[in-house]
Symmetry: C2
Subunit: 189 residues, 2 copies
């Protein structure tokens, strides 16, 4: 019985790669076991169950995304920061579609609390320091940014934009222009 050296971490990483290759929803313990030439039952020494694997992949992806976001934000402000951060989201989703899909997994509250989700919100707030927004508009703007980033990336990945004229890169840049303009001139009715 050769020991392969499975750990939750290695399984999570391999699961993330698998997700990028076949889609997050098609990540299965069978396929993962196959990657390590190991029987499925062996995975249960390291993972609670299939859901546990998916949760761990989601946490990994949230962390990677937050790390890359933080790196992009370093030394930038204003529109520069907005653009750099937004591009991290879009680029990550294109490069790691399975992991990106994992970030949308619904986490139970305790898990969400220890996830990198909070860092994401904090970084969006940091971006907004370059604009002149106070509460509660700042929170509203954070939610708008989250909606646009996620919505755009998700529709683009799903092929929702594929069939018409301006290419998606062009649209993306114009949308970032528009968001910047909006944040500089947030309506206060």
């Amino acid at each position: 019985m050769a020991r392969v050296g499975l750990t939750p971490e290695r399984l999570t990483r391999a699961g993330a790669e698998l997700a990028d290759e076949v889609g997050f929803d098609k990540v299965t313990l069978s396929a993962l076991a196959g990657r390590f030439d190991v029987k499925v039952a062996s995975l249960y020494s390291h993972l609670k169950n299939s859901q546990d694997l998916k949760t761990k992949i989601a946490l990994l992806a949230l962390e990677e995304l937050a790390d890359q976001g933080a790196a992009a934000l370093a030394g930038r402000a204003g529109k520069d920061a907005l653009t750099a951060f937004a591009n991290v989201y879009r680029t990550y989703a294109r490069k790691h579609p399975g992991r990106y899909a994992a970030t949308q997994l619904r986490l139970d509250p305790e898990t969400a609390a220890v996830s990198a989700g909070g860092r994401h919100a904090q970084m969006m707030r940091a971006i907004l320091r370059g604009y002149d927004l106070t509460e509660p508009d700042q929170t509203n703007a954070v939610r708008l940014l989250g909606s646009v980033f996620h919505g755009y990336v998700s529709l683009e990945m799903g092929g929702g934009f594929s069939h018409s004229a301006p290419d998606t890169q062009e649209t993306w840049l114009r949308i970032l222009d528009a968001l910047d303009a909006l944040l500089r001139n947030w309506p206060t009715p």
Copy 2:
């Protein structure tokens, strides 16, 4: 052998209800068969397979959503139209979470072509007639609206906004204000 009177339509409707109750990803032929007190194999006379059912639910949801959008748009223009249409999306998603999730199913191109997806894009363009946008900004704006609507609804449903101060209704209204302001004053660099 009592005939129950299954049809693709009845199965699709029941599948949609099931999706709203247990989640779109948990819609299963087993559960659907259970609803009609019928064996699973019997469903294959009316549905090609499980994927076929999911596709049909997605098409149903896209159609319902388009119908409600069209109704909301009738006789409205400008911000009034924008708000009414956006509210249709959000309300539909809250009332029919499973069906809304179904609308995000990736359809193959031929299926997408016969879906109500095109009507959605047309309606967004109709809304934009109340603003002063020409191509290619109109397409860019359509994509922005789609991103915001879908992104917001999807994050709100996923609990992404649950833990902070302004309630989601308030944020939603302010985001619609912001979009209206943005469309009235679209940046042209």
